[in-house]
Symmetry: C2
Subunit: 269 residues, 2 copies
Amino acid sequence: MSPHAFDVAIALAPQGDGVWQGHTSPAYANMIGPFGGATAAQALNAVLQHPGRQGEPVAFTVNFAAALADGPFLVYARPVRTNRSTQHWIVETRQGEQTVATATAVTALRRDTWGATEVPMPDVPRPRDVAAPGRKGSVEWFNRYDIRFIDGGFPPAWDGADTQDSITQLWVRDNPARPLDFASLTALSDVFFPRIWRRRATMTPIGTVSMTVYFHCSQAQLQATGTGYLLGQAQAQAFRDGYFDQTAQLWNEAGELLVTTHQVVYYKE
Amino acid sequence: MSPHAFDVAIALAPQGDGVWQGHTSPAYANMIGPFGGATAAQALNAVLQHPGRQGEPVAFTVNFAAALADGPFLVYARPVRTNRSTQHWIVETRQGEQTVATATAVTALRRDTWGATEVPMPDVPRPRDVAAPGRKGSVEWFNRYDIRFIDGGFPPAWDGADTQDSITQLWVRDNPARPLDFASLTALSDVFFPRIWRRRATMTPIGTVSMTVYFHCSQAQLQATGTGYLLGQAQAQAFRDGYFDQTAQLWNEAGELLVTTHQVVYYKE
């Protein structure tokens, strides 16, 4: 059996001393450069692969400095502080002499505590009752996900009408299905199409500049989630002078909130 | 006239080549180490002071690796990528050989575009109609802010009752008043007391591990906001296995959304 396209995409060859070599993947190509979720997952994967890593990811921020050129890249992952139960990482992804992405991560040994969720999973139809889009995506990475829009899918017409809100709800999993892990969950955090396209029914050029992922889940919980669908919900809070934000949540089918994630995105007009 | 305590707290002495020396400030002391908002503002200030800076802050993430010891620290701010309209920064704050905070920032030259806000300012009483807390804060930094709780202030009793939600709404500005800028806005993003204290009416030990600030405002807008109050609203989305998140917004009195901000916080139990 050939490996899953996502595993190919995030594969890193150790170069010693916290340096890994990866390669952009045509399977995750975006309009210009690769899908940001793949670039994010590659950066986090260097932390996950690091022999000195302690604990599981709690917080991860990636900044997209430039579109990656097709080809190899190096990821530099450096644990800058190791405490008793937390560890802090600085990550840089480079092509040649150029930095193409920066990231920071916090990993931690988590303990069982009191817990609660304040954003309940929205009441939505089950994945099997929601139609998958009939057409292929216009960008390749979109075909790597089984996305079922519940509400706020692509506008029926790109007519520039202001729809007054930017909410999208969807079910999503890797296509073909793949057991969930921290790397794929990171990529899935970037699976929403640009909120400004949703809000304005206009395909203005965009580019995510920074994304933060907070993990509210353990490895065991991800294993239990397995190849199930995730419910994603995303909305912008503000569009102003060329940048908008997006705030999003990902739940598993059991209704557990796995991730809260935020990003800020450049838009042209 | 003596300088404002906040200006003293974020003052940095250039050491050459992107390195600055600062000093922790007793005026912003927290239970252990300084107020995280001050540490965040100091790190951002190194970017703001950098002679090579291009544009204004759009995204800023700071990771708190350790409580700072009282005394001097060095901030290392490095522009790792400068594009036509965006610039990417890696920042480290160190004491001796130890990294105490890491940060990344994106600064950008912003252009006038179509804009909208999807989270309207809540309908609340004006600042002058909301009482300031009568008592001094138990930590010094709290006295550096004029905070007027509208809803979700400190629990009337620390009795461990689960209040079922963690929302707080407050008016806030520096005390004494100080014209708003990107550094003070960064500190103000961390002004909310821990959501778990609010939710559970229990002062369990906590520590913010990572905070992200998205700026939806220009320098001109901050100048126009001046010494006015900001309306802050904060809520946790999930408390799980020792970490909870907080998502928050800050509006000026004119109802403009200046900041959306997120953090993840360790809690003991």
